[in-house]
Every structure is written in structure tokens, then in C-alpha cells.
Symmetry: D3
Subunit: 138 residues, 6 copies
């Protein structure tokens, strides 16, 4: 059984890899590299997999899962600049892929009923990523 | 190939486990344990997996799948109280997890083209569960 | 300029007019009269009309409007039974129309920047009402 | 007859009125005043009112209206910082109200079939404004 | 008080005015003039304005309104070709504007509780029209 | 890591298998077999699975993926009749299942960063299919 909680946050970001020059960054990230940044209403959906607890009838209380999501992620990124304002994102180019992986690292240790199964992060109706914990070491 | 049909229904429910006392239920289910109950516009998405029939070009006719969903689930739960009014939910604490599992048991035997792959049940935009038939015996 | 804030709540209700007998109520409200009740994820959108304050650039701070909405409406109806649990709905048959009018009476006095322009209450994707304060005396 | 076209754009902004000190701005705009800014997926819906042209059966070709919207608004604000990067927003605190009014001034002269009726600007699912050209002089 | 019911239908159409030649039609309707036609999932929202009936607490029973909408509109246009298959659209170029006006003529006489206030017809998330009965004689 | 891009297109289609007679087609496809055809606003979501490129922080640039989707699919099916106007659909009964498989064949060779993981095609809010490349030979 997989249970999912969904929250939203609004943040600014700019895609840029400082190891490369401006021309490379422009070519690679196009308008997402505009110097003043831009922003999104992100949708974060966190899924936990486990067995149904026969007493509560729940895998994990989704109200508790949302508390964890708020404390570990949403309260730290909402109405922030993801390039500058978020400690656990320091030195990370805030693509959706990198954000999903960083969010996984924040959330996984905090999920103690069932286990973290999937993070879905949607930047816009057109763009989203799904991360299931693969490749963390790579 | 996985094909999915989606229907909605509106129902009342209250989370409560009569094996425990009021204080335990309050602590466990919080506002979902309020005595008068509350309700949701549930979204039920049922997915069937199978090969494409070369004659019809379909895995299963989604119109037929929706008929099955209406007959076995929606017509029995829509505009009902899930704690009191639904025979196949008798004695079940109507969490989304328990509902998804109970719906699976109603639907699986009726799917004869392809096989039931997944039930997604959404309580609100923030809360949903996915069930793929695991652990039924546990 | 019209500014709008949107919140959701989940509640149970049953349509019934105790001045009439069971047969009249059944004929009038059909499945909405089922004795155990049912429920919805309601969407409440409140609109305020006014001039833009030149200092803040806002008609009314939507964060403050949402505070008012939570205090006066959402915290009192969310996860409740609208027939039984809400003091300001006592004696009111909880149709969407009647709810919108009752919500207006709760909200209008509390809006002191601009004035309450419109309440939109959606029961389901298919059913909604809009109230602009007309006819309150009738 | 009112016809409407809807486009989206993603932008960063920060609410701040430089005529006031940091404390006033913090109190007035709260987290929307965070120094690094934040951002949104804005939804812009532009409505034009007029009679149906009997030859085309249209009030205004919505493809043409979207061209105007892209040229005058979307291409200039998408993936930009609304405080810093947009010429026609210079000196404007980018609240939704102020943006809607500024967009109106860009669009109204360009609508030559029918007339501009309404601009709806949505910042998030919870926050939106509607502007119909009132008060422009105030 | 305004109450609204929303239904959907799927139909094919092609924009073309036979009084003009192919080149005019191509220039005017562009890809909407492609000879094989195309199609949409239309959303039809019908709004009725009236006073709340004190006995039922409703302006008009939305279940009845949807019955009228199905009988007069949806059952006649759903899964049809709007250029060829719908008697009451004979000779009408099926732009959203012309459809909304034709739907109004079908619906208005059938609304006997309250009066028809507005028809909203959405072709896509980007394109919609609103008709309130103006100009019918023009 | 799975990344997904979502685009929409509007097209007409009619379900019919010319190897069978009219009565079989009517019985099998019901209103989807209506001779004049009907249409949908299709949603096409394409998912690519791969590792995050450490330089770009992306699996595949979603702007590039959308370019591929437009060139190979959307520009060829949008505002077309899927039974008659699309070369790569010649001889294919345009069920959602058959479309998804045909789209896969167009897209898979063009994805050179990561690999095509899944195609989701939604016909309406109620009907959708997911294809992951299984059974292509059958």
C-alpha cells in the first residue's frame, strides 16, 4: 500500500553551474539562466510504502507525514530563493532533479512508519520529476 | 499496457476503532474522529493491465470498466455514510487504505479482460492512496 | 479591483426540511436526503472589492482575508457535520445556497478593507453557487 | 459575448515598498518580503467583450489575442524577476493588484476588435485578482 | 443567488464559412479550418439566477438542471460532429461563440425556476467564452 | 530518476475496425463509432528515465524533450483527424492504447539522453492509458 501527501510551496530559483562560463550556462539552461531568476508554485508529493497498521487502519498518518514535510522541507523553502536562502541546498544547482534528491535526503530518515517510496516534484503543469531513491551514491 | 478509468463519489465517514477508547481514537484520528463525521468528494481511479486486443484495439472497454465500477462500488457508496450504510464495508474503519483494499476485493473478481492492476483513491487534493493487491492476506 | 482567496474544507451534510414529511424530502432531495448523510470537499472562494491601497499595493492582504475566513468559517465547519455541529448553521438546511448566505453573514462584518463582493461555494466539480449579498432580507 | 484566453508564465518577485523602512515592509508583506524573493506560476486570463462578427463567428480570434498577450506581456515577464527585469514594471511593487493594472495598460490599446473587459491574474490556487479597468486614474 | 451546473462532452468540429472561399477560410481559421476537423473535450457550465426557495433551500435543483442540460444539449452533441450531426446547429459555423448562443436558445425556454443567467463554454484550458443572452437579435 | 513533460493537443477521431461489419463496430465501440467522429483535448505525458547529469543537474532538458514531442507527435496530430490525416497512424484504429503504442515508436529512437520510460495519454478526465514499451512485438 502506498500513501501520498501533497503540499505546495512558492519559491524563486535560477539554473546555473558556476563551474562553467556564462556562455555554457546560457546555452544549457536558456531562459532558466536569466540573471534575475524566476519562480514557481511547486507541488511536492511524498509517497510512503508500508503495510496497513491493523489498529489505525493507516500506513502512516498523513497528517503526521505533512508535519514532517512542513518541518523538513516546506517551511524552509516556501517564499525563499532556492539558490541563496536554504541551508540544505547550499552549492546545489536547483533543477527539479537535484531538488527531489535533496528533499529525499531530508525526508527519508524522518519516515519511521513504512518507508519513503517516492518523491514527485512538479515545477509547472508541463514539467515534473519522480525520484525513488535510486543512484544516491552516484 | 495499463488503462485507467476514473469516477467520483461523495460520501460521509468518521474514523474510529471501537476496540479502543475515546481518548485513543481522539489521539489517533484527531479531527477525523469528530462524532458527527465529515465527508469528501472521493476520486476513484481503477487501472487494468493487459495486452491490447488486436480486434478492438483496447485492453478493456473503459465504458465497461466504468459500468463495473458503478455497479460494484460507486452506486453503493455515493451519497452514503461509509460507516453505516454500505454492506461490504461492515466493521471496517473507513480510512482510505481500508477503503482501497475493500474496493479491490469487490472489483478484482469482476475484471475478466486483463487483470486489476491498481486502485488509486483520493480523499482530497492532499491525501491519496494507491493499492496494488499486495498483502491481502496479512 | 476584486481580490479573491480560496480555501477548502471537508464536511458531512444531509438535505432535509423537517417541516415536511419523509416522502416530500425524498422527492425533493433524492439521494441528498439519504439518512446517514454524505459529504464533500467544499471549495470556498471569497472576493473583496475595493481600491488599491497605494502604500501596500493591495486591496486587502489576502493572508489576512484567509485568517478571517479560517476563524469565521473554515475552522468551524471543517471536518464537521453541517447539520449538527455548527452553531451558526443551527436550523438551516445545508444546501449550497443556504450555506453561502450564512457564510456571507459571518464574513461581511469582518471585512473592513474594501467590502465583501462575492462568495463562491463549490460542492463538487459539477455543482457551485455564487452569492453577492442580494435578497438578504427576503 | 465575452471571450477569454488563458496563458501562464513563471516569474520571481518580492513585495517591498521602498518609501517605508524594513520593519514596515516586514510587517506589511511578511514572508512575501523575504529578501531573496520567491516566485509563482502565474495564470493570466484576458477577457474581451464584443459582438460576434457574423463572418468569422468570433468576437476576436483567440489565437490573435494570445499573440497580443505574448508580445505585450508574457514574453516580457516569463522567466524574469518582476522587480528588476521588466521595463514597464519599473518602480511598481509587484503585488497581483499592481500587476493586473499594469498589464491592463499594456493590453487595452492593442485590442481593436471588441474591447478589453477583464484581466484575471492568479498567483496561486489560493490567491487571485480580477481587474476591469476601474480607478485607473486614482 | 446564482447556481451553476457543469457537464462535459466530447465532439468534433471544423471552422469554416461556406460563403467565403478556401483561402479566406484558411486565413481566418488557420489550423481550425483543417479539412478533416479536430475536436475537444468541451466544458459546459450553465448558471441560473433566482431567489432561494424557502422550502427547498435551492434556487433550482441542480440535478434537474443537469437533466435539462443533458436532454437539450449534451445528449445531442456528445460524441458527435458539430458540423454535421446536430439538428439545432444546422448551418452554424461551430465557433465557441456560436455554440454558446445556440445552446442559450435551447436552454432558456426550459428553465422555469429562476432564469438562465450565463453559459460558459470552454473549448480548451486556454479558450473559453461566456454568454449572458445579449445581442440575440443582432 | 524519472522526468516528465506534458503537452496537449486537440484532435478528432472515430473508433472503427474495417475488418468487421457495421453492427460489430457499433456493438464494440458504441458512440465512439458514430460516423461523423468526435474529438478530445488529449494530454500527452512523456517520461524519460536516467541518471542526473552532474554538469547540468538534469536527466534530459525538458525543453528539448518537448521539442522532440512537438516535432514527432504534437505538430502532426494537433487539430487533425487521427483516422485520416496522420501518416504514421495509417491503418491504425485510433484507440488510446493504439495511439500510445504508435507514439512510443515515434519517440523512442529520438530520446538519446536517458531512455523513454513511459507514455501517458489521457483522452478525458475519466479515460487514460499508460504504456511502458511492453509487448511491442506481440
Amino acid at each position: 500500500m502506498i500513501v501520498s501527501a501533497r503540499l505546495t510551496f512558492s519559491a524563486a530559483h535560477r539554473l546555473d553551474n558556476p563551474k562553467f562560463d556564462a556562455e555554457w550556462n546560457r546555452r544549457t539552461f536558456d531562459k532558466c539562466n536569466n540573471p534575475g531568476g524566476h519562480g514557481h508554485n511547486y507541488i511536492l508529493q511524498v509517497s510512503v510504502r508500508g503495510k496497513i497498521d491493523p489498529e489505525s487502519g493507516m500506513v502512516i498518518d498523513l497528517a503526521k507525514l505533512k508535519e514532517i514535510m512542513r518541518e523538513r522541507i516546506v517551511d524552509r523553502v516556501d517564499h525563499r530563493n532556492l539558490n541563496a536562502d536554504v541551508d540544505f541546498l547550499g552549492g546545489i544547482n536547483p533543477t527539479a532533479e537535484n531538488l527531489a534528491r535533496a528533499f529525499w535526503q531530508q525526508l527519508a530518515p524522518a519516515i519511521t512508519q513504512g518507508s519513503l517510496y517516492e518523491i514527485m516534484l512538479q515545477e509547472t503543469e508541463k514539467n515534473s520529476v519522480v525520484y525513488r531513491g535510486e543512484d544516491e551514491e552516484s
